[in-house]
Point group: C2
Chain length 109, copies 2
């Protein structure tokens, strides 16, 4: 079990093979997760549409987050956070290809 958000990356991160998702806390009403991206993005023409809400902050790296109802992609740098309501269609346009982008995501009901 990791105890520091900025260390102990999964092997997939070093090899930039895949986005990784690790639960840091799981409770009845919330799940807190570390997501590490290494250049991945949401597949073309695909939107995430979740039943639960998600509050997310980028803590390292950078990413482009697009909401269907917004014309422009939001660019997120370390410290930038966004609340994504349930059923709000969104996608990750891009993540930094030069190094890990660390997200802290709080999924809640």
């Amino acid at each position: 079990m990791i105890e520091n958000l900025f260390t102990h990356f999964p092997d997939a991160v070093a090899h930039q093979e895949a986005e990784t998702f690790e639960a840091l806390l799981t409770a009845p009403n919330i799940k807190i997760e570390r997501i590490i991206s290494t250049g991945q993005s949401t597949p073309p023409d695909t939107w995430y549409c979740q039943d639960e809400c998600e509050w997310v902050i980028v803590l390292q790296g950078s990413a482009g987050l697009r909401f269907e109802q917004e014309a422009q992609t939001r660019i997120l740098y370390p410290g930038d956070f966004v609340n994504i309501p349930a059923k709000c269609r969104h996608r990750v346009e891009w993540t930094d290809a030069k190094g890990p982008t660390i997200w802290l995501a709080v999924h809640y009901l």
Copy 2:
């Protein structure tokens, strides 16, 4: 409303007058909060004992967090996180006096 955790500090932080608490998200089951400490600690012989649970991470600075049932103070550096169950008595022994310590706290039921 702030949108970045590492900027737009309240005036009290610059003057090291007081610890500051700002809600970043308030929902029925959770509250996400930015706490900025500038050397403050819990008053002597005082313990926090909360009805709700709290997951907390230090993102800048450092702090000493003590649980009543543990002999040693836990030293938290950026990225270190701790889950504090409801009714678990704890106190902040110290926070970095040289600069702001930024905590992200998730209070949940």
